[in-house]
Symmetry: C2
Subunit: 157 residues, 2 copies
DNA sequence: TATGAAAAGATAATCCC
DNA sequence: GGGATTATCTTTTCATA
């Protein structure tokens, strides 16, 4: 991380992870600083890239029936060009919300937000299995959500 | 979803998913509205719960070495009380960023942000396997991140 | 009922210490 | 880093269609 962050910076980052709609004075008070230095730190944290974005978290259930499905892909050997097309395809499909390469026998883990089982069935055959290099898809549907956050645990708080 | 949302509301929600730091005038311009009706819609979307929170997205890599690991848990039968303790424990462990109950033979999928393999080894034996009802843990480590977002695909945009 | 315009209030951003 | 000032944006009110 390059320790250019002190405890106050970490406190600020963690507050922003929880609620980024607070004013700089409110955050300042929470972390024990006055408004202007706190604001300066926030600007610095954005400029240095520690804060990548500020986004609204929507209520998935209120926006319609949908379920997360984990899909593990087994991949064949890919040329650089195919790998780029694969990556780009994943970027371009909004229902794929996360994608990771894996250790072990399956090669890629996807998290897919599926509007329905029928949709996912078609998605598997018409989309996933046609992506460059995809040889096999193993899917695990989720039943319910226990926890879902993007808050990163910050060291030494 | 109860169609109390029109296309403008969905456009606003999607903008906020991408960048919630924009002013209401900027968002108004993007969706083709003037500032005050746009602002009122945003308020309504918050009040009705479509917008759950507004958070900063941090750069995980800049904040130190870490890797996501997917852990699939096989669970035994749980009493209601044990289930509550299990759920609470998951809530309380910040390194567990997501948790879902599953269809199929494994019962729970966790996404864990591990600072290191050594940490995860200890976490498996000292924490996961001691949670109420946990009988077996199968872990899949990720090698690299291809995509990671919380942006929900919104219908009819 | 929804919109637009405009005033009042709060916040962000800058300056100086 | 803190305090005070200015610029900007948010939020409320009011008039209009």
């Amino acid at each position: 991380m390059a320790n250019e962050l002190d405890r106050l910076d970490l406190k600020i980052l963690d507050r922003l992870q929880v609620d980024a709609s607070e004013s700089s004075s409110e955050i300042a008070e929470r972390v024990g600083l006055s408004q202007s230095p706190c604001w300066r730190r926030m600007q610095r944290l954005k400029a240095k890239g520690y804060i990548k974005a500020q986004v609204a978290v929507l209520d998935r259930e209120k926006l319609g029936e949908s379920m997360y499905i984990f899909a593990q892909l087994q991949m064949g050997r890919l040329t650089d060009e195919e790998r780029d097309r694969f990556t780009q395809a994943i970027e371009d499909i909004p229902e794929i919300t996360e994608a990771y390469t894996l250790f072990g026998e399956m090669d890629v883990m996807l998290k897919v937000l599926a509007p329905s089982m029928g949709w996912y069935q078609a998605f598997t055959f018409r989309t996933l299995l046609r992506l460059p290099g995809v040889q096999d898809v193993r899917s695990t549907a989720t039943l319910s959500e226990i926890k879902c956050t993007h808050r990163l645990p910050l060291p030494s708080l």
